[in-house]
Symmetry: C2
Subunit: 197 residues, 2 copies
């Protein structure tokens, strides 16, 4: 998605060969027009999958998922990283290990909102090693529902998240695939292909 | 806002005389059409305030703020309850005491995104004792910016948040004002007025 790649080039900041900071438009300040376009693109890509629910994870997944759910005409569910005060024990739980924080967190979704027969589009802001996406997949499977696909805003293609998800049989659509952050430069996968590198 | 009050009546759950659970449409599962209407209503109410930024707090503030920022043509900023890994020390911080959790948390906003001269619309999902809203107000003031107003999805009018904010001189617009949750029943402030109770 060219508009997104341009935002990453112009407004992203490469902090290291592994860390891309996009808090100017995605995960702290939100460019709502860009995120609306991102959501519509997800809706377009998965329009034939008879999606009944869009599932993401708080907080940064909410903005890029909002217009996807709106366009597909489905509810949006965001998994909780921390159980809320009004949440009871009627929840699906999955453990998600964070390599960057080196800790395991539980994500939870109320059993009221995912049902057998649901066809679920999972959306997240980043795909790196795939742990968060696999946690969401696990929750959808606990519900007896179907994972219709996984939509990612920014994929770090130099990590193995995509291959893990594809090996598990899931369709992954990433709107920007970052090949490398070496030397403070962002290069995208499709630039490599178009340049025959 | 009648559509919101109807959702509270039909899909909210009164857990106690103090706790209203709305995770069917607001803070876990999101009714994106209703939240889009909520956001547009905020944009309408504050359309003459020359808003330059919409500020909310993760996670439940993001969905009702999304369309407000989109309609007003401004960025949306969500304050972080936990500093993210890519956040440096260039942040405004405010302490927010939670009466329900009986703990103090710090909320943070990068100094890059709030500037003197900004006219800021603060939006939050609930207003009870006003601590979260006052924390956001504090951050706007630290930035030297102006609080143009405060938009609340659901106000618990039997708590003192509104009076604190109004005494401090701020305009508060709540789309649903809950007078009472006694006896498992939701009654709204404007129902009292229209019934002359």
């Amino acid at each position: 998605m060219e508009q997104l790649k341009q935002a990453i080039r112009d407004r992203g900041k490469v902090l290291s060969s592994n860390v891309l900071k996009v808090d100017t438009f995605l995960n702290h300040q939100v460019d709502v027009n860009l995120m609306a376009a991102v959501g519509q693109e997800f809706a377009h890509l998965f329009k034939n999958e008879k999606i009944t629910k869009v599932l993401t994870i708080e907080s940064s997944g909410i903005a890029p998922s909002f217009m996807a759910a709106s366009t597909l005409g489905t509810p949006l569910i965001f998994a909780r990283k921390k159980k809320s005060l009004t949440m009871n024990d009627n929840v699906f739980v999955s453990k998600v290990y964070s390599f960057t924080k080196q800790e395991t967190n539980e994500i939870t979704v109320s059993k009221d909102f995912l049902l057998p027969g649901d066809s679920v589009l999972i959306i997240d802001d980043f795909l790196a090693n795939g742990q968060a996406a696999l946690g969401l997949v696990d929750i959808v499977k606990q519900a007896g529902a179907k994972v219709a696909g996984i939509g990612i805003v920014i994929e770090k293609s130099f990590q193995d998240g995509r291959s893990k998800l594809e090996e598990a049989g899931y369709r992954v659509e990433s709107l920007a695939r970052v090949h490398s952050l070496e030397n403070g430069q962002v290069t995208f996968v499709d630039e490599l292909i178009s340049n025959n590198l």
